[in-house]
Amino acid sequence: MPKDARGVLSEIKKGYISKRLKEGLRGDQRKLSEFRTIRIEPNFIPRAQGSAFVHLGKTKVLVGIKVESGEPFPDTPNQGVLTTNVEMLPMAFPTFEPGPPNEDSIEIARVVDRGIRESKMIDLEKLCIEPGKKVMIVFVDIDVLDYDGNLIDACTMGVVTALHTASYKVDESSPETKLPVRSMPVSVTMVKIGDELVCDPDLEEEQMSDTRLTVTFTEDGHVRAMQKGGVGYLSMDQVKKGIDMSEEAGNKIREYIKQVI
């Protein structure tokens, strides 16, 4: 949860949420591992090489992919480049401010990027045009339009959808090619409230919690990225339970994405 969105919750509300959780019930009747309604619209921006508009509950993010030619990094001359940027637009929340990415949006971008990258989702070697000289650069840009919690998962599912539907041209005269993708990572984020982990926290749940855990799985059941956030802690058992929960919840998300792409 971005820092400046903290502490908005009243004590009364906190008590109510806490009490309900002990009964296994969340504010909106969801089960602990249940996500809010997901709706993803691919190709929302026809002019981009790939795109997706994600509604995760009331959270809304927009992912756009641009694929352009450029130079490879010196230490990976045979590979294309992936770069991920998150803009927490000031329109998304009353206290978000314009300006360069702050530590919150940098962390989100890096966790999302890590999940995509470590899943070897994009076959970067296929994006090499001329070794050491010219490769394709995949720019993943994410606009956060409306903030009601769990940006990491909203962004990841948007990026995965957009990449799966993306195609590009090496230059004006080249034929259009599908972006070479080969896996479907899904991230699942949980927060700890009391001693319980709940998946896909909304803003209120994020405000209730001081500990966050994100796990990114690929379809082979392997963990590809993890990130604990927040000033609290988790027991080792909770971490492992979190991994189990995230695998289960993630598989459902993956099924949904497969339907829309």
């Binding site: 929302f44 921006i45 026809p46 002019r47 756009g64 641009k66 000031p90 929340f93 840009d141």
Partner: protein, 250 residues
């Protein structure tokens, strides 16, 4: 205007490349209250333009030295998404967006009853999601709807359109090619009822007669666009609207 070139903008039948008549504007669709957090919002599609506008305020102006003791300060921020244009745009403001933010802020200030909220600011955040010529006028027209949807008192709506010159013809609402390769572009916005001019910019080459013709065409068009604004404000938002508009896009 862009570079002179051999690019034909009128086809052999004497018609604009996208088939529009000289005074025909591209399809416009506006949906209000599409965002949860904002006090008001509007999603605008105008041709291939897709623009999201959110309004917050009136709220205390910050930092304090920006407060005006007599009125509310309108702070519009026009921003282009990195993926909104053909070549990826580096995030953050540039000189063009700074100027556009300024002229939009000024145009809206003429419409809002700013005297009612001294020491406050009203933020108008504009995100161009896909750009297709005429974004400043589309943004301003959508911003006016978003302000109204936020319940902010206004003396009048702001509504705009651009005219231009293409192969020596005065036409309305330039397309992307017409903007890039045409001879003049004249974006203008007025107060909806009184037709007072709150934004006008021009670049290119117009005789005084051509200027008169172009502004006349814009004034007529604003009546039609104002009707679309009114309709958007009278519809209740429902999530399918946005969805349909998207799948129907392009």
């Amino acid at each position: 205007m862009g570079t002179p070139s051999d690019k034909k903008l009128i086809n052999e039948n004497g018609v604009r490349l996208d088939g529009r008549g000289d005074e025909e504007i591209r399809p416009i669709r506006i949906t209000t209250n599409v965002l949860e957090r904002a006090d008001g919002s509007a999603f605008m599609e105008w041709g291939g333009n897709k623009i999201m506008v959110a309004v917050y305020g009136p709220r205390e102006a910050y930092p304090k030295h920006t407060q005006d003791i007599e009125k509310s300060v309108i702070k519009a921020r026009y921003n282009m998404a990195a993926f909104s244009v053909d070549e990826r745009k580096r995030p953050g403001p540039d000189r063009r967006s700074t100027e556009i933010s300024k002229v939009i802020s000024e145009a809206l200030s003429a419409a809002v009853l700013v005297e009612q909220f001294p020491r406050t600011q009203i933020d108008v955040f504009i995100e161009v999601i896909q750009a297709d010529a005429g974004t400043r006028i589309a943004s301003l027209t959508a911003a006016s709807v978003a302000l109204a949807s936020a319940g902010i008192p206004m003396r009048d709506m702001v509504v705009g359109c651009s005219a231009g010159k293409v192969e020596d013809r005065i036409v309305l609402d330039l397309s992307k090619d017409e903007d890039n390769f045409g001879q003049a572009d004249l974006p203008m916005a007025v107060l909806s009822k009184s037709k007072k001019v709150v934004l006008v910019q021009m670049d290119g080459d117009l005789s005084k007669e051509e200027f008169g013709k172009a502004t006349g065409m814009v004034l007529q068009a604003t009546d039609r666009i104002a009707e679309i604004q009114r309709k958007a404000l009278s519809e209740k938002y429902n999530i399918e609207n946005l969805s349909e508009s998207n799948t129907g896009g392009e």
